[in-house]
Symmetry: none
Subunit: 144 residues, 2 copies
DNA sequence: TTGCGTGCAAAGGTTTTGCATGGCA
DNA sequence: TGCCATGCAAAACCTTTGCACGCAA
């Protein structure tokens, strides 16, 4: 009998390939579900939004893409290009300009250890994003 | 003539008082709009959710309460009692059971300072959530 | 009396779910 | 052939808006 784990089979389908290819092609830009729907509609390859939601969920769970909740709008998704390396550091996302900063810093390593030791919580660096304001936007908005 | 600014008159109404009193009574805990609705419904003092939304908006604009957009759920509100409370700590969200943990820890304060000093990034602790696995779920899922 | 406050209903938007059909393996 | 994937429709949510009426000042 086939191992009936709680995981999906991950069939190789046209829609699945198209969605991932599109995200990869965007490089470090991020898109909303609606933008993805529009993209394929323009190409006359309409893909149901339900399908898109379900693929994004899978890709997000597996760490292939990142998910952001910028402002109060809908969620944004972005390909986690350098997959491996990014598991070992955190990400800073500027709420103003949307820039994503990869934070390579020993302090962050300490955080993970500290929170695990003292608070019994295992941080998932893949999904954790620090929101805030980047240096450029801090300068621009000095006197609002 | 009365200054006709874009601001409202802020009448002193029963509903307005009840809502603020409730938030104050919660101390540093935060609640969603729905929780507020339920609270008053239980007391047989039902207040329309529209009214609650509008009061929260005013209180938020004036800085009387804080607003969180934790995880992907609905917004949370909390009385800005002493200026301290939740803006000076982070939140941990368990990906397994969904529990939200308030992390009171000096180390986190250091993070903010460090990231600002060394990486010129101002972290928004209100928005930032650490995702991971809580103590209970770590135990439960030891051997999956 | 004036005009904001209230709350019902309805609309708007995002995301999820039910279900029958289609397609991968 | 057995499931999973797909996608339409509908539901489930959260939040906002329109409107008539009530109430504070």
């Amino acid at each position: 009998m086939p191992m009936k784990t709680a995981r999906s089979a991950n069939y190789n389908t046209l829609q699945g390939r198209l969605i991932l290819d599109y995200l990869v092609s965007l490089g470090d830009r991020h898109v909303t579900v609606n933008q993805i729907v529009q993209h394929f509609r323009k190409q006359n390859i309409p893909i149901g939004q339900t399908t898109i939601y379900r693929h994004l969920e899978k890709l997000y769970s597996s760490g292939t893409i990142r998910r952001y909740t910028l402002s109060e709008e809908s969620a944004c998704y972005q390909y986690a290009s350098n997959g491996k390396a990014c598991q070992e550091h955190f990400h800073l996302k500027c709420e103003q300009c949307g820039e994503l900063i990869h934070l390579e810093c020993d302090l962050l390593d300490e955080i993970q250890k500290h929170v695990y030791k003292n608070h019994s919580f295992r941080i998932n660096a893949l999904k954790t994003v620090f929101y805030g304001t980047c240096a450029r936007c801090l300068k621009d908005g000095d006197t609002p």
